[in-house]
Symmetry: C2
């Protein structure tokens, strides 16, 4: 029963919501991931090795289950994530980044760097420190890693 609902949700997304506010690339991008949750899901899968609904749910920001389902559907509809049955556990789904999703990496890295620079209460972890030393190397290294893993 809820599969049908899920498909409806995707359908609504494509039918009703496809109106971009303008043809500005920044505006169009924000139409897709301009909210407080989408890029955190991307972060989890991109930098923290999380792959499944239940793992995303455990993140410290405490996303609600309905919001998570909704965002996963949108990101899948937009071809940023793709969903498949886990090879390890056949009753489980795993999400992977498409090329389009992997290409969000520089945005995520820049946001992380800015956030760490201007928030005293945000400690830089390994990756944050590496970014300070050589940001473009971090990006190209992760790009290779993600391409190997998902691409």
């Amino acid at each position: 029963m809820y599969k049908r609902y899920c498909k409806l949700q995707v359908l609504y997304y494509f039918c009703g919501m496809k109106k971009n506010r303008s043809d500005c690339p920044i505006s169009c991008s924000l139409d897709v991931f301009g909210d407080k949750w989408s890029l955190l899901i991307i972060r989890d899968i991109m930098l923290r090795g999380k792959l499944s609904y239940s793992e995303f749910l455990k993140s410290e920001e405490k996303i609600a289950t309905n919001i998570l389902v909704n965002r996963l559907n949108i990101l899948e509809s937009e071809n940023i994530l793709s969903k498949s049955v886990s090879p390890d556990n056949k009753s489980k789904f795993v999400y992977s980044l498409t090329k389009k999703g992997i290409d969000l990496l520089p945005i995520v890295i820049e946001i992380m760097d800015w956030g760490a620079k201007y928030n005293e209460n945000c400690p830089r972890r390994e990756i944050g420190k590496k970014i300070q030393v050589d940001k473009s190397k971090v990006i190209s290294d992760y790009l290779d890693k993600l391409t190997e893993e998902f691409g």
Copy 2:
């Protein structure tokens, strides 16, 4: 009368809303500008030479007046924008980017590049084409320009 209200809005922002969802720098950044409008205001001032309330209001995405006031207050409270009387027209305010605001440039550029790459209906303008050729040069050129203008 509305000046007092404006100060109240800022007060509410500082008192009530200062709860970051986590100490992750990405999450903290999104707590500030993770919505569909804030970065469009930044874009207008950063790349389009817009400086005032009435100019922001004219952008093609058609932000509502109450949302615009709210976001300007937040961005000012967060020390991303600063507000002053226009030297040209004393009955007018102009906003300028702080250092913290200028440092959003790489994020904005990366979002623009991604958006142009994955939206056929988003034509690349001059800056979009320059980004394809040499992104880091575009960033450093604009950084110089913005620093001279605002910094």
